[in-house]
Symmetry: C2
Subunit: 143 residues, 2 copies
Amino acid sequence: MIVTNIENQELTIENKIEKVFDMEQCENVLCPIKDILAHLGDKWSIFTILALGQVKVARFNELKKQVAGISQRMLTVTLRSLEENGLVSRQLFPEIPPRVEYTLTSLGHSLLGQMLQLAEWATSHRDEIDEARKKFQEKKLVF
Amino acid sequence: MIVTNIENQELTIENKIEKVFDMEQCENVLCPIKDILAHLGDKWSIFTILALGQVKVARFNELKKQVAGISQRMLTVTLRSLEENGLVSRQLFPEIPPRVEYTLTSLGHSLLGQMLQLAEWATSHRDEIDEARKKFQEKKLVF
DNA sequence: CGGTATCCCGTGTGATACTG
DNA sequence: CAGTATCACACGGGATACCG
């Protein structure tokens, strides 16, 4: 029974892969996966989403402190991109001085869940990766 | 009861975020998440892993066909990086003509699961993202 | 405060040619 | 077949200065 379960799971993985590759066959940039991953895969998007997941609501400069290391320019660019893709909502209060508040949309919050899983994977397999790197370096030294 | 469940889940997410941000406080590149995501976040790594998940074992040029669009150079670079991080194993057969076989390691297979979830997320939220983009374009046209 | 505009450099990546 | 080497170049992204 257990074996059957494993086999079933393997089949599911295979099916998922097939689906992914079916979608990928579109040649141009319209391929959704390529496209979406290209937008959300860069580190600034990831960290901005994580930051907004933590503080819920943030103004521009608050966010800039949170993300730590990001330049003003890249924060602007990243936020625009996230807004364009419906992950972040931007609310402007026409006061003086101007105030702008950023929050995650429900879609953004949904993506946050994925990001967290990836982050969890990264941390939980950190040691294995470190070890693999050391082995690789040793191999290189042999030659 | 349902409300309690949701609250508990929210708390878990918050806790996860805190953990992630705790780890992120290291300033240099050694921060595991930044580091690992930087290596595995780029599209060629993702597609190569997906391809290897599909074909299980592949030689260099087979893989090149599978990934579709990748240059010889980038496939080499990507495979070296994946090998260095313990996700892909490379077996060289010293024949003439030479033969090299690439497969996913168990670590790579584990990451494949994550990739698939991300891909699934991307496809299942494709419409929402498209709609958000259209709205954003309309907004821009107003000004 | 919350941007935009401009400049500029380093790196990532494709194309091409060569090798064991 | 499975790469390496080299060049060329677009683009990401930092620094700086200015605007509403």
